[in-house]
């Protein structure tokens, strides 16, 4: 069996009384695109910070590319690329100068820097801008440059902490196109955090993390299958009566949500004609939906991802990394 790219066992990180990461264990195989899905403050950034040697764990162990993140900090650093949540480019340097600076710190030979830099810049669509100062770049361009930079020294694992946060939808799609292309070409293991469902869908496997614990870990398809049921949403002329009829004749228990009736049934498409057979009240609309990662999230955490986001105070909005650096 090959050595896992990332191996985490019982990881714990406390900040005073607050436990940000509470016993996380996981394995990421080489070449995998692994996603960490969870609301703000769930412990995603804290976990990534520990894996990148920026924070020390309070308990448990973590190995990246076979090296322990505490005992072999420099070996881990040499083997990872990192795209932070915030932009970490030097605005007054050009794109090429930013990359060159990075290449030097990671020990690339002079002759190799250009060979490696040019195709990467081309890949992220910035070859024309190589000599322009970064302060004239848009947010999306900066992100793309950072992704190129993260890959410049050929890391075995590239960590991306919310790589598309704060970007418009078109740019987000572009970034993802680049990520897909890069994966095809470089075969780098990627470990990313996100709180966007559509981004989680693209991962080979995802771990759903909530309040510092992993509540589910599998492929997106398997997770959705684990929810099992399709969701049928009905609005009728008289919801009370419809609910009673459905309960008595089809033995289902409709849930009231936002002025509609929501039913969870194994095969939604086959279920709808039966609804029309039994109901005596007029149906205004019907919607059948296959399970989504939203449903998966609700199933495992009992909450909607958006509610979970809104419910948390700003204090812990994934800023463990920032706070760690502030203290540095």
């Amino acid at each position: 069996m090959t050595q896992p790219a990332v191996e985490v066992d019982g990881l714990v990180r406390r900040f005073g009384d607050f436990t940000a990461v509470d016993g996380v264990s996981l394995r990421v195989e080489p070449g995998e695109l692994f996603g960490f899905l969870g609301p703000n403050g769930a412990g995603k950034t804290t976990t990534i910070s520990i894996l990148c040697t920026l924070l020390r764990p309070s308990g448990g162990t973590a190995r990246v590319a076979g090296h322990d993140v505490v005992a072999a900090r420099d070996a881990v650093r040499a083997n990872i690329g990192l795209v932070f949540q915030e932009i970490t480019l030097d605005d007054y340097l050009s794109a090429a100068e930013n990359l060159r600076f990075h290449a030097v710190m990671y020990g690339l030979h002079r002759a190799e820097i250009d060979d490696r830099m040019r195709p990467l810049l081309e890949m992220v669509g910035l070859e024309e801008r190589a000599d322009q100062q970064v302060r004239f770049f848009s947010g999306g361009m900066k992100r793309r440059l950072e992704i190129a930079r993260g890959l410049l020294h050929m890391p075995s694992v590239l960590f991306l902490d919310e790589p598309t946060i704060g970007l418009d939808p078109v740019t987000r799609t572009h970034i993802w196109d680049y990520v897909d292309e890069l994966r095809g070409r470089e075969r780098t293991t990627m470990f990313l955090t996100t709180h966007y469902m559509d981004e989680a869908e693209r991962c080979d496997r995802i771990a759903i993390i909530d309040r510092g614990r992993i509540v589910a870990i599998d492929t997106p398809d398997a997770l959705k299958a684990s929810v099992g049921a399709d969701t049928v949403t009905l609005s009728t002329a008289d919801d009370d009566r419809a609910a009673a009829e459905l309960a008595s004749m089809l033995s289902v228990d409709p849930e009231r949500r936002n002025g509609s009736l929501v039913l969870r049934v194994p095969d939604g498409e086959a279920f709808v004609p039966r609804v029309f057979d039994v109901l005596s009240v007029g149906v205004q609309s019907v919607n059948v939906r296959r399970p989504s990662l939203d449903d998966v999230f609700i199933k495992y955490t009992g909450r909607d991802l958006r509610d979970a986001d809104a419910g948390l105070t700003e204090q812990f909005t994934g800023n463990a990394m920032v706070r760690a650096w502030r203290r540095n």
Binding site: L54, L55, L89, H102, V104, Y106, H109, R116, E186
Partner: protein, 270 residues
């Protein structure tokens, strides 16, 4: 397109090249922010030409018979190096605010290399400003020989190294630009006023004289003044003239201790 294999360098080569790169970055940034260059040169010129000329008509005591502007010249040079060296570390606070510090700290290079690069970079900028100011010397009646220019540059370099390291120590714990500027002003002003850069240190009241003696910048200013001027008024303890080697030792000691502290402060994670 085929992926190009990368052969990573050993730690020593990587760290040495990192020092060079951090240094180069400071110079590139300076060159792209011309306002910094202008203000770094204009301020000492203003002191020298306006303040020096104006006060010169009042002050002629204790300068050893020298024209006040001539007396002031090495002091202002030292002052400009102290100011810009201490302020060079502002780049660390900037780097922290704009995230670039993180990019550097997560790299597999030693913190010593990063701190050294910053110290050498800040020092270079400070000395470059000093060189520009040396050009003014003949116009205010300072006679410099080639030997004196080199001695003066050596003094400025040493002073720049020490004060940049000190600045890095102060900046390493600063989170915000505002607090950095406040602390800098609090440190810098007494350091300059008590250094003999602007007024002679002889015949001062005892308490003030004591303060000037514990100020390490005093020895740097004395060093620069003795390097630049033929008939300078050297630093004394009573009747004992402080030797040049002691000046050098004090500044060197300040620099080495501060550099070590700066590296230690950057070593910490968490």
């Amino acid at each position: 397109m085929a992926t190009i294999a990368v052969h990573h360098q050993g730690a020593l080569a990587r760290n040495l090249r990192t020092i060079n790169m951090v240094w180069l970055r400071e110079l590139i940034r300076l060159q792209r922010m011309p306002s910094r260059i202008i203000s770094g040169i204009a301020q000492p010129l203003l002191f020298l030409l306006v303040l020096g000329t104006g006060l010169g008509s009042l002050v002629d005591r204790g300068t050893g018979g020298l024209d006040y502007r001539v007396y002031l010249f090495p002091g202002i040079l030292a002052m400009s190096v102290i100011t810009s060296s201490l302020f060079a570390s502002v780049s660390i606070v900037w780097d922290r605010e704009f995230g670039f510090l993180r990019e550097m700290l997560v790299a597999p290079v030693s913190r010593t290399a990063l701190v050294l690069g910053k110290a050498v970079g800040g020092g270079t900028v400070a000395v470059l400003q000093g060189i520009v100011l040396i050009v003014v010397a003949p116009f205010i009646g300072v006679d410099l020989t080639v030997g004196r220019v080199f001695a003066l540059l050596g003094g400025l370099l040493l002073l720049a190294f020490a004060l940049t390291s000190f600045g890095i120590v102060l900046a390493s714990r600063m989170q915000r630009m505002e607090s950095f500027q406040m602390v800098m002003a609090l440190v810098m002003q007494p350091m300059i006023f008590l250094s003999g850069a602007v007024f002679p240190l002889r015949d001062l009241p005892g308490w003030l004289s004591a303060l000037t003696k514990v100020n390490p910048a005093t020895y740097g200013v004395d060093l620069c003044r003795r390097a630049a001027l033929e008939n300078s008024v050297p630093l004394t303890y009573g009747d004992w003239v402080v030797p040049v080697w002691l000046d050098i030792m004090v500044v060197l000691a300040l620099g080495s201790v501060m550099l070590a502290v700066a590296v230690a402060l950057f070593q910490k994670t968490d």
